[in-house]
């Protein structure tokens, strides 16, 4: 028995028409979705984390499409916040910024709130979200009142960090000790790039 292209076309049309009324494909059988696996890899690699000095560099360079979201209370926000930040609750941010938004968003709050919010934003499809490591306290310690290690930072690096701190009205100090910043500033991730998951490319 030979099967003609017309028969195959008819079979495809029947299967396609049935698909339209068959409902959604079965949910994964207990296995985690790829999105969750990618997120787990991002958490392991600390891919969503931005240090206070890296965020300062970002804000100073004013790239297009960057939003800073303060998740703390209105009172805490009024007492002091990161320049250009807007105050929102996490639920407001999830509602406003739906999946596929092109903005790069950095969230922060008290202590680990930013990291928790980042996980939820990523699960909601916000691939370009980051969180400020250490929250507002880390911003104050790292940008507004940084202690810079003269022994472990090069003179150029030390000057660059001090200038960045002063740009935000900070008062950098030179000192040593466990709280002293000793790691080079480096560059923040590129605004617009998706952190955490490696880019997957189509192949032909």
């Amino acid at each position: 028995m030979t099967v003609s292209p017309r028969d195959l076309g008819a079979a495809a049309l029947i299967l396609g028409a049935l698909a339209a009324v068959a409902g959604e494909p079965a949910a994964s059988s207990g296995a985690l979705g790829r999105g969750v696996r990618d997120l787990a890899a991002g958490v392991e690699q600390r891919a969503g984390e931005v240090s206070p000095l890296q965020l300062a560099l970002w804000i100073r360079d004013r790239p297009a499409g960057l939003r800073i979201v303060d998740l703390r209370s209105a009172q805490e926000f009024l007492e002091g916040h990161i320049p250009t930040a807007e105050r929102r609750t996490l639920r407001e941010e999830l509602d406003v910024a739906g999946a596929g938004s092109d903005d790069t968003v950095v969230v922060y709050g008290a202590e680990s709130v930013g990291a928790e919010a980042w996980v939820l934003l990523r699960l909601a499809g916000r691939s370009r979200s980051y969180f400020l490591s250490g929250g507002m306290a880390a911003w104050e310690a790292g940008v507004l009142h940084p202690v810079l290690s003269r022994q472990r930072l090069s003179p150029g690096e030390l000057r660059r960090m001090a200038d960045l701190s002063r740009y935000f009205g900070g008062a950098p100090r030179i000192g040593e000790g466990p709280e002293a910043i000793s790691a080079p500033l480096g560059q923040p991730p590129t605004v617009g790039a998706s952190p955490a998951a490696p880019r997957r490319r189509a192949e032909c």
Binding site: A12, L15, G16, T190
Partner: protein
């Protein structure tokens, strides 16, 4: 290299590579049997004299689409293990133009160039060399150039699927693509008949 389905996510690397080799050989055999190792046949696509490429590729898409949907609907395949390539609109638009230009000039695409090279054709070997040079150049530029990294992320929408983009159930999208393919086959047959 990533396989379309991460079927070896919990298994050893050799199983993944073996799977890639088997799938690659099957893909090449089908391309060869469809006559797509012939540059003349491929270029016929652009002159509207031979639309075998469109019919072969659309047949493959419809077969895979229906297979994935129904296997998943019947609980035999976990769709969440399917790798969806990221969509970055601008770099992919530019890449598509370069790809199309190379396709028209060489008369071969990456898959068919491997088939042509395997059958000993020099033009196939040259296209394969060009593909590897392009991949290497892109990888180096992506690693070294901040401008290139910026461009590569332009219009990045992450892993985007048609049901999510159109806000339609998967089955409706499947039916739409099948109907579109069948209509394309009809048009292709008519165009080929007219060109004879």
């Amino acid at each position: 290299m990533s396989a379309p389905i991460a079927f070896t996510a919990d298994g050893p690397l050799w199983a993944s590579l073996l799977g890639a080799v088997v799938i690659g050989l099957a893909f090449g055999a089908v391309l060869e049997s469809a006559g797509l190792a012939s540059a003349r046949k491929l270029v016929g696509q652009f002159y509207l004299t031979d639309l075998t490429v469109l019919k072969t590729m659309f047949s493959a898409i419809v077969t895979a689409l229906l297979g994935l949907f129904w296997l998943s609907r019947l609980g035999l395949l976990d769709l969440s293990r399917l790798a969806v390539p990221d969509t970055a609109i601008w770099p992919q638009a530019v890449g598509g133009c370069i790809f199309g230009l190379g396709f028209a000039v060489a008369g071969l695409c990456p898959g068919t160039s491997c088939v042509a090279a395997a059958s000993g054709r020099v033009d196939g070997l040259l296209v394969v060399a060009g593909v590897f040079a392009g991949v290497l150049g892109t990888g180096l530029a992506d690693a070294e150039s901040r401008w290139f990294q910026w461009f590569y992320a332009l219009g990045d929408r992450g892993a985007l699927t048609l049901p999510a983009l159109l806000h339609l159930p998967s089955g409706v999208v499947v039916f739409g693509v099948v109907a579109m393919a069948l209509a394309a086959f009809q048009v292709a047959e008519r165009v080929e008949r007219r060109s004879r």
